[in-house]
């Protein structure tokens, strides 16, 4: 109902208006009448900015191809598959490539195979800094690709990551705004090192479930009254509002009807989702109701606190900018404090 033009993103390679916020190409945001529209534009620009370029996509694909060839020459009946953020197009620059070796008879699900492949990679110089982690719940080989520097994980004979990737891809296709908000929340958590499951952080699939259920249960979205892509700014703040202040982590679990429609259920209705600690995030695995996707997230307290902090930062900046003059707005960013991107400068044109 408000006649504000949120499209028309300018692709010309202008120098960033403020080196602190390299995703801002111009001051066009600051002309927005409403601060939430300004934030929406910044989110779109930032997502464009951190999305991989053609070159990066090609480099990653060739790493995977090279590895797949190597594995097939070692084990002709096996194949290397990608899962995780790499296969769902939700990866941040420099994130790991998650792969899994799969064969028909699940022949390579053993320690001998783990060490055999790790030796093979070393001998053929396919990886440096190779670590073989045999004692973990999911044994893996971790290494760095010598040509590109990408970090690669190889696990064995587990296809649940592949099915999860299929589910995520279908959610993204059917849910405008999901990809954008997930990228922002991922970046937010990764800057604060709260996105690694082995240190109690929030894993990629859990982040997706939080954003997806938030969008799919939002009163304005379930009634079709807003287009999420036009309202990313408000929605991002409301995401942090929900999980930073309001969500009843002690009582509520996120679950999925028919693997697609998110719902809330009381934790007590599924014993598998209860934990000794009541303040614990519970997300019922859409593929397996006995599994809590976020069972490794034992640092919920810091995650909740950081979400609350993000809410405060965003709304305070909104109030400040709402009162500011045009001159005071120049070079400013609403999103900046939340995502604090410290990567090398990227080229907008091929992003």
């Amino acid at each position: 109902e408000r006649g504000i033009n949120v499209s028309g993103i300018n692709n010309s390679p202008i120098k960033a208006v403020n080196p602190k916020y390299p995703w801002l190409k111009s001051n066009k945001h600051t002309k927005q009448l409403e601060v939430s529209d300004w934030l929406t534009m910044e989110i779109k620009d930032f997502v464009k900015y951190i999305s991989p370029s053609e070159k990066e996509i090609e480099a990653r694909n060739s790493v995977v191809r090279r590895l797949n060839d190597a594995i097939m020459s070692l084990w002709p009946d096996a194949e290397l598959h990608c899962f995780g953020s790499y296969s769902t197009d939700l990866y941040l620059p420099g994130s790991d490539i998650d792969t899994v070796v799969i064969s028909k008879g699940h022949k390579y699900d053993n320690r001998a195979s783990l060490y055999k492949l790790s030796t093979y990679l070393r001998v053929h110089k396919l990886g440096k800094r190779i670590e073989t982690i045999a004692k973990a719940k999911v044994p893996i080989i971790k290494f760095v690709d010598p040509e590109t520097g990408y970090h690669i994980d190889i696990s064995f004979e587990r296809d649940n990551g592949l099915t999860a990737a299929q589910i995520i891809i279908s959610w993204i296709k059917s849910t405008p705004g999901l990809r954008e908000l997930v990228m922002i929340v991922k970046q937010f958590l990764s800057v604060r090192r709260l996105n690694e499951v082995h240190t109690g952080g929030l894993g990629g699939f859990s982040i997706i479930c939080l954003v997806y259920s938030f969008l799919r249960l939002h009163p304005r979205i379930v009634t079709g009254s807003i287009d999420p892509m036009d309202n990313l700014g408000v929605l991002l703040i409301e995401f942090f509002e929900l999980y930073g202040f309001n969500f009843g982590y002690d009582n509520v679990a996120i679950a999925f009807k028919n693997k697609t429609q998110p719902i809330y259920i009381p934790k007590t209705s599924n014993q598998n989702l209860l934990n000794r600690n009541p303040f614990f995030l519970a997300i019922q695995d859409p593929q397996d109701p006995t599994n809590n996707i976020s069972r490794g997230t034992f640092n919920l307290r810091d995650i909740k606190r950081s979400f609350g902090g993000a809410y405060e930062m965003l709304v305070n900046k909104c109030y400040e900018m709402n009162n500011a003059t045009y001159k005071q707005r120049l070079g400013e960013s609403i999103l900046g404090d939340v995502i604090k991107f410290k990567g090398k400068a990227r080229d907008f044109v091929d992003a």
Binding site: R2, G248, A253, P266
Partner: protein, 107 residues
Amino acid sequence: NNCPDKRHYNYCTYCNSRTHSTDRCPNIWRSYIVKKISHDSSVRRDMYPSGLIFCYNCGHEGHFGDNCPFPRVSRTPNINGSAFTGENLPREFRNLYRVRLSEVKRR
């Protein structure tokens, strides 16, 4: 109370609220760009999101977290209200939502 500005500080002339000042009104950022839709109310009534209204506080179906009849679980207060309230439904659904809420309470 020796702060002369306190009363002024906690009053919003925009929404007549005493929980915040005008320059910190949530409406400054919670302003949606709403889709243009048909005003045929009979069509819209069928779109009432039955089965899609869940409570972030207790996990039950039928009401939003801000309207939960059970004690609040989160230790952080919810002073100004959130996105998950019947008030955030489009106007034509708010009455039906209120009616259904009171029906549940009576049962």
